[in-house]
């Protein structure tokens, strides 16, 4: 059953050094506040998993939390590079980072297999690319019915998945809507799930087709309004595109980044 915890307690209880941590949310509903709490708690040697690492993984990598990154598109959307990610790959700063790199479809299907309790997923992908050669979690499989050779991707089962959602009810059922990415699959694939929410409501509306994660699939809920800023929560906030553009400049320089980390993350303390 879901526990209602402070963000600090939810991260302390569920994210440990060396864990495989998925932080999902496709442009929308990115769990930034939880990411910052992981930085504040100085977690180390994490394997971060995100289709689009986005600024949240750039920050975690720059802060020295990550040993490995499993991902499929590592840019600042519409702006350019993730400079902290690049610095880690190109110059081992603040430490070397191992990559397991996929396509969106491949990584999404790794979560699908994890959620389905299967060892792998099948898709028509990767043939002829260098992507297939670089990853130990991509192989091929022959269809027993047609003989077609298809890609197989290994199931991904994070130790913990962290997401941000619009609402939880008082039982701890979670509801999110709009662009829902791979949140459902990444939560169901994980051993534990931490959800930060914009709002805790008495009752959901009658709409049972919005993505609902029943309370018994969620380990902890923390009430963190604005917890996805500078990404957005449909119905609650707008994406701060200026922040994404400003990050390009701010994150280029190690010293400027470390100053940002000190003042905007460590000094703020837990929410």
């Amino acid at each position: 059953m879901t526990e209602f915890l402070s963000l600090e307690s939810a991260i302390a209880a569920n994210v440990h050094d060396g864990d495989v941590v998925a932080l999902e949310g496709f442009t929308h509903l990115i769990p930034f506040a939880a990411g910052h709490e992981i930085i504040r708690q100085r977690r180390r040697d994490l394997t971060l998993v995100r289709l689009t690492p986005d600024l949240i993984c750039d920050q975690l990598i720059g802060a020295g939390c990550a040993r490995k990154m499993v991902f499929s598109w590592g840019g600042n959307p519409g702006v350019g590079s993730l400079h902290r990610f690049r610095d880690a790959v190109e110059h081992d700063w603040p430490q070397a980072i191992e990559l397991d790199e996929h396509t969106h479809a491949g990584l999404a299907n790794r979560f699908v297999a994890g959620a389905a309790g299967l060892p792998f997923a099948v898709l028509r992908a990767y043939a002829g690319t260098d992507v297939a050669l670089q990853s130990s979690t991509i192989a091929s499989v022959t269809c027993p019915f047609t003989g077609e050779v298809l890609a197989a991707v290994a199931a991904l089962r994070p130790d913990v998945t962290v997401i941000h959602a619009q609402q939880a009810d008082r039982e701890g059922n979670v509801r999110l809507w709009g662009i829902t990415g791979v949140q459902k699959e990444s939560v169901l694939a994980a051993s534990r799930a931490v959800v930060t929410v914009e709002e805790i409501v008495d009752d959901f509306s009658d709409d049972r087709n919005a993505v609902v994660l029943p309370s018994w699939t969620v380990t902890a809920v923390a009430h963190v309004p604005g917890g996805c800023y500078p990404s957005y929560a449909s119905g609650y906030s707008e994406r701060d595109n200026d922040y994404y553009e400003a990050w390009d400049e701010l994150s280029r320089d190690r010293t400027v980044f470390e100053d940002w980390l000190e003042h905007e993350v460590y000094d703020l303390g837990s929410v």
Partner: protein
């Protein structure tokens, strides 16, 4: 000769013209998104724009900065999850056209969006694959839009992220790729189409004010020029006005 349009403008407009008659387009952010939105404003008003964030039938009134902007979700016919957009919509070939860009392209329209230099210790670490490899696999045809120089049109890719025609004729069939592959590669200098026999991208149209020698100088392989080379039609006032309105109303820089 001073023209009233930029090289980027004619590239984007030429790309938008390729979408005439298409029902649906799987759109990457940057140049492809601008071209697809221009097509929808001009000559393909019913064009269904599909973004990998799961937004199907997005009708943005301003250019999105990211593929997951709220504007895309708000104006979409339906929003689906990421596994669903790839598994149910893209993979079976339901989306007519894919529009892609890249950091490097070779003569067989294969793309690199992963690294410049070696994979283990790259000079430049680029974002990676995203949705492009499966778009290039599954869409019945793809359109590639990218700015041209010797650094981007290369003899050998540093990394093969997305297959166009692989190593040439027959490669797509051998690799089990159902789509027909790139129908056109559009740069800021000209337009390239695959040779019927070899699948090599040959120069078939040259933008006004550009010489064949300019294109050769900006191509890293021994460029073949079509015997029926034509000049790309100049942008009309309507095309230019519409593109400039889109760019001015944009929250995005035209990144690629």
């Amino acid at each position: 000769m001073k023209s009233n349009f930029s090289t980027d403008e004619i590239m984007t407009i030429a790309a938008s013209r390729e979408l005439a008659g298409a029902r649906s387009c799987f759109v990457g952010i940057g140049l492809p998104s601008i071209a697809a939105n221009l097509a929808r404003s001009l000559h393909a008003s019913g064009l269904v724009l599909v973004y990998e964030s799961g937004t199907i039938g997005a009708k943005p009134t301003r250019l999105p900065l990211s593929i997951g902007d709220g504007e895309l979700a708000r104006t979409a016919d339906v929003v689906v999850s990421v596994p669903e957009i790839f598994n149910y919509w893209l993979q079976p070939g339901r989306i007519d056209v894919g529009m892609l860009s890249g950091a490097q392209v070779d003569r067989f329209a294969n793309l690199n969006t992963t690294v410049i230099g070696s994979y283990e210790r790259p000079e430049v670490r680029l974002p990676g694959a995203g949705g492009a490899p499966e778009i290039a696999t599954a869409c019945p045809r793809t359109i590639i839009v990218m700015r041209q120089s010797k650094r981007t049109f290369v003899e050998n890719l540093d990394y093969l992220t997305t297959v166009g025609f692989g190593d040439g004729t027959g490669a797509r069939a051998r690799l089990g790729m159902p789509g027909a592959g790139p129908s056109v590669l559009i740069s800021d200098l000209g337009i390239f189409r695959p040779d019927v026999e070899t699948c090599e991208m040959n120069l078939t149209s040259i933008h006004p004010g550009v010489n064949v020698a300019d294109v050769r100088d900006a191509t890293g392989w021994a460029l073949k020029v079509s015997g029926e080379l034509v000049e790309t039609a100049k942008p009309t006032d309507e095309e230019l006005d519409c593109l400039r309105r889109l760019n001015n109303g944009s929250s995005a820089k035209a990144t690629n």
